[in-house]
Symmetry: C7
Subunit: 73 residues, 7 copies
Amino acid sequence: MNSNRPIDVLDKAKGKRILVKLKNGEEITGDLVALDLHLNMWLENAEIVKEQTKTKIGNIFLRGDTIVYSIVL
Amino acid sequence: MNSNRPIDVLDKAKGKRILVKLKNGEEITGDLVALDLHLNMWLENAEIVKEQTKTKIGNIFLRGDTIVYSIVL
Amino acid sequence: MNSNRPIDVLDKAKGKRILVKLKNGEEITGDLVALDLHLNMWLENAEIVKEQTKTKIGNIFLRGDTIVYSIVL
Amino acid sequence: MNSNRPIDVLDKAKGKRILVKLKNGEEITGDLVALDLHLNMWLENAEIVKEQTKTKIGNIFLRGDTIVYSIVL
Amino acid sequence: MNSNRPIDVLDKAKGKRILVKLKNGEEITGDLVALDLHLNMWLENAEIVKEQTKTKIGNIFLRGDTIVYSIVL
Amino acid sequence: MNSNRPIDVLDKAKGKRILVKLKNGEEITGDLVALDLHLNMWLENAEIVKEQTKTKIGNIFLRGDTIVYSIVL
Amino acid sequence: MNSNRPIDVLDKAKGKRILVKLKNGEEITGDLVALDLHLNMWLENAEIVKEQTKTKIGNIFLRGDTIVYSIVL
């Protein structure tokens, strides 16, 4: 197993817009600003997406263990 | 991956009002006074927000592993 | 991030009455007598609060990982 | 935070009858015989309490991470 | 807290028949053959007990973190 | 507690057909090819068993923490 | 127990198409590009499969602890 870790690939998405799916079913979109090894994230210009409606929420800290997956938009 | 950790960015919100979404669905707002690496938090002038009604609760300790995300208000 | 940990702030509530919300939805009130870093607690003169009715239960050990939050009354 | 740990206070209940509430909703009563730091317990003369009926089960090992709280009877 | 650990008491049940309650609600009975500190177990002559009917399943490995409690029969 | 670990007993089932019950309720059968201490498994000639119907799925990696138990067929 | 770890066998599927079943019930297919010991994955040309319909999502980071199993297609 070589050292090309998935978290390193995701780290390259800093500055880009991502969508994060949470374990509670919510989806958050935002600009990825900070990321750590626990998958904790800091997003800016974030929005909560719920049944087609988007709510602007500004800056958000996402706890890593609540994340299912993250898609680069 | 550089050392700009999401928790450090959140730490700068000390003294500001934040909204915390919990895994049990409850939302708590309050002034962020203390924070540790487990995401445990101490909030003052806190309120529980439930279906549009707010209940004042004073000072509250939030266990970090029950937190989904935190928004700076 | 300075060393003012949330658990240290909560520790100062020893001897005071607190309300603890559990992940199973129950609420316990009692006098905080002992506390550790896992958030395990020993309460005395405790009561279980369920739909407006209170049941006296005396002394209780609460497992930390079952706690959502703790409010100083 | 001094060293008066909640688990040490519970440890003094050895030989006494306790009630243990489990995360699956069941309640077990029994004589506390052994206890470790994970909150694993060995109870003797134990009974499962379910909707007012008690079932005698003799000796039981309780896994600590399934425990919500423990009350000294 | 002395060193009489609950897992050591359970270990003495090797060779005896036990009932194991799982977090998914199933109950397994069998002869306890092997046990480790994670509470992983190897049972022989095992049966799954479901609503009064028993299904013979032979030898079974039980993952410790799925266990609620274990009763010596 | 002697060193006859349950995982070592299961390890001897390599090359044999096993049934694995998962926490999400699914059952997988297959030939056990690889196993580690986290109970991660690699099965070949695997099938998903769901309400009496079997679906062939070839080779499968099972994450250990999603496993409830494993039966040697 | 020899050193042929399940994760090493899965690692050989890099470059191949896999299906990943998540704990929230979703299924993701994609080309496996990166993998670590936590089972975190980076997939490219990914699709979410939901009730027979596929949605193209491009590149995706999957958190390892949300994975049930992974099938090599």
